[in-house]
Amino acid sequence: MESVSFSEKLAIWNPYPMESGICVRFFLGDLDVWVERYDIEWHVHTEFRDKPVTMGNAEPVFSIEPISKEQKPATTEWKHYLVRNAPCLYPTPAIPDRPLVVKPDRLLVILPGETAQFFIFFPLWLRFMVGPIGRKVTPRLLFEMSIFRMKSTWFGDPVSGELCYATETRLFTDFHSLPEHPLFAICPLRIRNESSIELPFDKICLHTEVLSLYVGESRIWTNASEVIFKGAEQETVVEPSKHPPSFEPKVRLLASPRQVSDIWYFKRTFSLLKIITGF
C-alpha cells in the first residue's frame, strides 16, 4: 500500500462501466458492497464486516474485485433497482448526513489571544450512482451509506440538542503530517480565542453538511472553517469559508454541500460554546 500513489488510490472513485451479468465486490473501510447488473436492473447487497477496521490504526482497505456467481452472498437481502440506460456505476465520496462530534486524541488548551490551526480527519460516506458512460446525463443515486461503522451520539442538552456521529481523530496541526487516504476528508479548522479565558478544546461539533468536498493532488478536503470564541457568555461564531482550501495548489470540486444555509449553521453553533467550555 506504501508504494501506491494517491492518484492510484483515488481510482476507487472512478466510474466503473459494467456489462450485463457481471458482479463485483467493493471493499471500502468496514463495508463490503456487492453489485451486479442485469440489463436494466442493478442488484446491490451491503454488509459491514464483523471485525471493523479501527480508524487511525491499520490503513483501511479499499479495492474492487470482479467475483463469480458462486461467490455472491446467498441472502435474500439484495436490493433490486430498475434504471434504464445506466450501464455505468459511479461510486462517489460524500459528506456524512449528520454533524460530527469530533473528539481529539488529546486535550488542547487555547490561551486567550491565541489562534490555533487544526486539521480534522474524518471518514467519508459512499454514494452509489448509476448512469450512462461519459456522464452525458447526471447519474442517478441508488443509495448512500457510511463506509465505516459510525456511532451515534447526542450533542447538547437532551431537550434541544442534535443527533450526530461520534468520531475520534488525531489532532493534526501540521499539514505535511496528514495521511493521504481516499476514504477520509480533511477539514482545516482555525480556532481564535478572542476571550479573556482559557479555551479547552476537547470536543467540537462540526457541521460537515454545509461543507463542500474537494480533491487535491494528495488528499480530499472540505472548505476551511473558522471558530471565533469571544467568551462563555458571548455567541461563538463559526464561519465556513466559501472558497476551496488553499493547502494544495490544485483542487477540484467533488461534491457540493448537502445544505446551503449560513443562518442555520450560526444558530446551531451556540451549543458548541457549552461543550467546548464546559459551561
Binding site: 456511532k151 447526542w154 450533542f155 461520534a166
Partner: protein, 278 residues
Amino acid sequence: MKILDWLQYIPSEVFQKGLNVGITLLVGVVIIRFLLYLSAKTFLKPLSEHSKLIVRNVLLYVASTILVITLLRQVGLDVSTLLGAAGIIGVALGFASQTSVSNMISGIFLLSERPFEVGDVIKVGDKTGIVSSIDLMSIKIRTFDNLFIRIPNQMVLNTEVTNITRFPIRRMDISFQIAYKEDLQRVRKLVMEIVEVNPYALREPEPLWIVQGFGESGISLLLGVWFQKQDFVNLKNSLLQEIKERFDRERIEIPFPHRTLYTGSVTEPLPIRIVQDR
C-alpha cells in the same frame, strides 16, 4: 302521485319556508365543508397536527353556530328570545350534564396547555398509545395492539399523564443482578463494551452505571442507556440479548433467587442416614 296529492294539503307558506330551510341547510353544509377543505389545503398546511385540529374544530363550531342561527331565523324563531331562554335552559342543562360540561372545560384546558399533541405516545393511567385526536369532550388514543380508546378529558386532566415521546432522546434503565463472586470492575467493562457496539445506544450522554445495593441473591446493578425515542424496542431487545449472551460466554453468573441451607457448619455436607435398605 300520492305524494303530490299530499303536498297539496301543505300551506304554501310552510312549503316555501321548508324549501328555503332545506336549501339553506344544503348550501350551508357544502360551504362549511368547502371552508374546511380550503383551510386544510392553505393556511393549515404548515401547522402541526395539534394546531390543525384546534383551528379546524373552532372553524367547524363557529360555522355550524352561524348556520343554525340562520336556519332558526328562516323558520321564524326570534333568536334573541331564544338566547334569553337558553340562559334558563342552560342552567337546567348544566345541572343535568355536569360531566359533559366538565369534559368540555377540561378539553379547553388541554388544548391550551398542550401536554401532548396528535401523534405523541402517551400513558394515561395504565393505558399507553398514540394520540389520534384531541376533541372537546375526549381524547382518542390507539394502543400498540391496535385498540381504540376514548378517554374523557376530565379524566385526562385529573390523572397523571406521561408523554413518552416529547423529547428526542430517552434513557432506558435496565436493572439486573450478578453473583457476589463476580468482579464488579470486569462486569462494568464488559457491559460498557456491549453498549459501545450497540447501534441503537448513543455514546453521549454517557451510560449511567449504579451499584444499587446488595440483594438477597446477588449485587443489584442499574444500567441507563440513552437512545433515540424511536429505537426503544430495538435497543431493549438487542441490549438484553447481548448482555445475556456475553455473560454466558464470560461465565458471569446472573443469580436467581435461592437459599443455602447449612446444618450448623459451612463446610460439612448435610448428614444423611439410610433408615431402610431395600
